[in-house]
C-alpha cells in the first residue's frame, strides 16, 4: 500500500494558494464586469450570480471608451511599426559592426528607457501646445516613438547576435551585398525572436498611461486613459461599468501574455521557446 505523503500534499496546497493570490484580483474584476448593479454592491461580496452583459453594452456606448479603444488600436500599432523601421536595422548594425562609440551609444539607448516620463512630458506638452498638436493622434504617436525606438533597438541587438555569423559570411561569399545579407539572411533567422520582442513592446505601449494622460484630453485619449478617467466624473464609482472597461482594456495583454511568456527566456540570452 502506498503511504500518503503529507508534506508533499501540503506543499501542493500552498502552491495552489500562491497561484490563487496571483490570479484572484484578475478573476475578481472580470466577475464584477458581468455583475448587475445589485450584485456589485452586495455585501458580503457575491461569488455566484446571474451574469449580464449590461455593463459592456453601457460602457461601449460611452463615447470616451469607444474612442479610446479606436485610438489605441491606431496609435499602438503605428508607433510600433515606425519604431521597428528605425530600430531593427540599427540593432543589426550594433550587433555586427565594430565602431568606436558603440558602448557609449548602447548606454545612451538604455538610459533613454530609464528617463523619468515626467521629465519628458513637460517639454512635449509645451511643444504640442505651441504647434496645436495637443490631444492629437499624430502628436501622441511621435511622442511614443521615443519609447518604441529605444526599447526595440535595445532588445533586438541580442536577437541578431544569436544569428550564426557563418550563414552571413557564406551569403557574402556568394556575392550578396550588405543589404541583401541583412534582408535575406539575418532578418528571417532573427524573426521569431523579433516578434517576441515586438509583442513585449506592444504590451508596454498599450499599457502606457502617463504620457497619454497628459498629452490627450478628449479626441486622442487612449484606452488606459479612457478607462481610468471616466469613473472620476461621478461621485460614486460605477464599479460594474468600470470593471467592464478594465476587462476590455486587459484583453490584448492577456491574449499576448502567452507569447510574452515564451519570449521571456531570451531576455537572459537563453533560447526562447519558439
Amino acid at each position: 500500500m502506498k503511504r500518503i505523503n503529507l508534506p508533499r500534499i501540503l506543499s501542493y496546497v500552498v502552491l495552489a494558494a500562491i497561484v490563487i493570490v496571483a490570479l484572484a484580483p484578475i478573476v475578481w474584476i472580470i466577475l464584477n464586469a458581468f455583475k448587475a448593479r445589485v450584485d456589485v454592491i452586495a455585501y458580503p461580496p457575491r461569488l455566484f450570480f446571474t451574469p449580464t452583459l449590461a455593463n459592456f453594452e453601457r460602457v461601449l456606448q460611452i463615447g470616451t471608451i469607444s474612442r479610446g479603444l479606436a485610438n489605441s488600436l491606431i496609435v499602438v500599432p503605428l508607433s510600433l511599426l515606425i519604431g521597428a523601421i528605425f530600430a531593427i536595422p540599427t540593432a543589426y548594425v550594433f550587433a555586427r559592426y565594430a565602431f568606436k562609440a558603440k558602448n557609449d551609444l548602447r548606454f545612451f539607448v538604455l538610459s533613454l528607457r530609464f528617463m523619468p516620463p515626467v521629465a519628458a512630458v513637460i517639454p512635449f506638452f509645451i511643444v504640442w501646445l505651441q504647434l496645436g498638436m495637443l490631444d492629437t493622434t499624430p502628436g501622441l504617436i511621435i511622442t511614443y516613438l521615443g519609447i518604441t525606438i529605444s526599447t526595440m533597438l535595445w532588445l533586438s541587438i541580442a536577437s541578431f547576435q544569436r544569428v550564426p555569423i557563418e550563414y552571413e559570411e557564406a551569403a557574402q561569399l556568394e556575392g550578396l551585398g550588405s543589404l541583401g545579407v541583412f534582408l535575406q539572411i539575418a532578418l528571417p533567422i532573427a524573426l521569431p525572436s523579433l516578434i517576441g520582442m515586438a509583442i513585449f513592446v506592444f504590451i508596454l505601449v498599450w499599457n502606457e498611461f502617463f504620457l497619454a494622460f497628459v498629452l490627450t484630453s478628449r479626441q486622442a485619449v487612449t484606452m488606459p486613459v479612457a478607462a481610468a478617467t471616466f469613473a472620476v466624473m461621478g461621485m460614486e464609482v460605477p464599479w460594474g461599468q468600470l470593471s467592464a472597461s478594465i476587462a476590455v482594456l486587459m484583453v490584448p495583454p492577456m491574449i499576448l501574455s502567452y507569447f510574452f511568456m515564451r519570449y521571456l527566456p531570451s531576455i537572459f540570452g537563453l533560447r526562447s521557446e519558439e
Binding site: S11, V14, L15, I18, V21, A22, L23, P25, I26, W28, N32, Y43, P44, P45, F86, A87, T90, V93, F107, F108, S111, L112, F114, P116, P117, V118, A119, A120, V121, I122, P123, F124, F125, L145, G146, S150, L153, G177, S178, L179, F182, F209, F210, F213, P224, A227, A228, W239, L242, I246, L249, P253, M254, S257, Y258, F260, M261, P265, F268, L270
Partner: protein, 292 residues
C-alpha cells in the same frame, strides 16, 4: 550596398532621432526650469536663474514627496525581491513537471502584463471599505473594517502591496526560468555531498543565478521611480500628501491644478539627475560584477 554605406544609412538617422528625443526635451526643460512661468498668469516668462531649484529645497511638500518616493522605492524593491527569492525555489521544487511549471509561470506573469491602471482599479475594488472582498475576509476573523487607501498610515503600504503583487510574481517567474537552466549535474553533486535544501539554494543555486538576476533588480528599481499611473488611480497622492511621490507632485505643480510649468520643470530635471546618477552607478557596478 556596401558595408560602409549600410553602416551609415542605418545608424545615423536612428541615432539622430534618438538624440533629438533625449536632448530636445532635456534642454527645453532646463531652459524653463531657469525661468518663472505660470500658466495662470499672463505676464511673460522671466529669467530667475536657480530660483526654482532653491525654492524646491525649502518646499516642505517637495521634501515630503522625495521621502515618499524613497519609501515607495525601498518598499517595492525589497518586497518584490523578497517574494521572488522565497517563492521561486518553493515553486521550482514543488512543481516538478514541465506542464505544471509552465502553468505556474503563466499565472505569475499575468499580473505584470496587465496595465498598471487596471491593476490599480482591481485592488481599489478589493480594498473598498464597504464592498471590498479584503475587508470581508478580515471580518471573518473579526478584524476591521480598514479604510486602506484613505488612511494616511495605511495608504502607502497598501499601494506597495499592489506593486509587489505585480513585480514580486514577475521576478518569481523570471527566477524560475533561471533556476530551470541550472544543470542537473550540479544539483546531483551537491546532493551527494549531503547538502540540505537551504544550503543548496543559499550556497549554490542563488550564486549561480545572481549575475542574471541582478540586472532585473536594477530594472525594478528604475521602474519604481515611475509610480504615477498607480498612485494617480488609487489615491492621487492623498490622503493629504501621504502618498504624493515626486512625479505626482511635479504633475500637480506643472500640469494639474497649479500651472507652474517652470517649477515642475525644475523638479523633473532633478529627477533626471537622480536617475542618471542611479543608472551610472548601477551600470558600472554590473559591469564590474560581470568582469570579476
Amino acid at each position: 550596398m556596401s558595408k560602409r554605406q549600410f553602416f551609415y544609412v542605418f545608424l545615423i538617422p536612428t541615432v539622430v532621432v534618438l538624440l533629438a528625443f533625449a536632448l530636445y526635451p532635456l534642454f527645453t526643460a532646463i531652459y524653463y526650469s531657469l525661468h518663472d512661468w505660470d500658466l495662470r498668469r499672463t505676464e511673460p516668462m522671466a529669467f530667475i536663474g536657480l530660483g526654482n531649484y532653491l525654492e524646491m529645497f525649502q518646499d516642505a511638500r517637495f521634501l515630503n514627496s522625495l521621502r515618499i518616493s524613497g519609501l515607495f522605492l525601498v518598499g517595492t524593491v525589497a518586497g518584490s525581491v523578497l517574494v521572488a527569492f522565497v517563492l521561486a525555489p518553493f515553486v521550482h521544487e514543488t512543481a516538478r513537471s514541465h506542464a505544471l511549471r509552465s502553468a505556474c509561470l503563466f499565472a505569475f506573469i499575468l499580473p505584470a502584463v496587465l496595465p498598471r491602471v487596471g491593476a490599480a482599479y482591481m485592488w481599489r475594488l478589493m480594498y473598498d471599505p464597504s464592498i471590498g472582498v479584503i475587508n470581508y475576509l478580515f471580518s471573518l476573523v473579526n478584524l476591521g473594517p480598514f479604510i486602506f487607501l484613505q488612511n494616511p498610515r495605511l495608504a502607502l503600504p497598501s499601494i506597495i502591496v499592489i506593486d509587489v503583487w505585480q513585480w514580486g510574481f514577475l521576478l518569481t517567474a523570471l527566477m524560475m526560468i533561471l533556476l530551470r537552466e541550472v544543470p542537473n549535474e550540479v544539483i546531483e553533486a551537491a546532493r551527494l555531498d549531503g547538502t540540505n535544501m537551504l544550503q543548496l539554494y543559499v550556497l549554490i543555486m542563488y550564486p549561480l543565478i545572481l549575475p542574471l538576476s541582478l540586472p532585473l533588480i536594477f530594472v525594478k528599481m528604475m521602474e519604481s521611480l515611475r509610480s504615477f499611473d498607480f498612485i494617480f488611480v488609487l489615491t492621487a497622492g492623498g490622503p493629504g500628501i501621504a502618498t504624493e511621490t515626486l512625479d505626482m507632485y511635479a504633475y500637480w505643480q506643472g500640469l494639474g491644478t497649479a500651472g507652474r510649468v517652470s517649477y515642475a520643470a525644475a523638479m523633473s530635471i532633478f529627477m533626471v539627475i537622480l536617475s542618471i546618477v542611479f543608472v551610472t552607478i548601477a551600470w558600472r557596478a554590473l559591469r564590474r560584477w560581470h568582469e570579476s
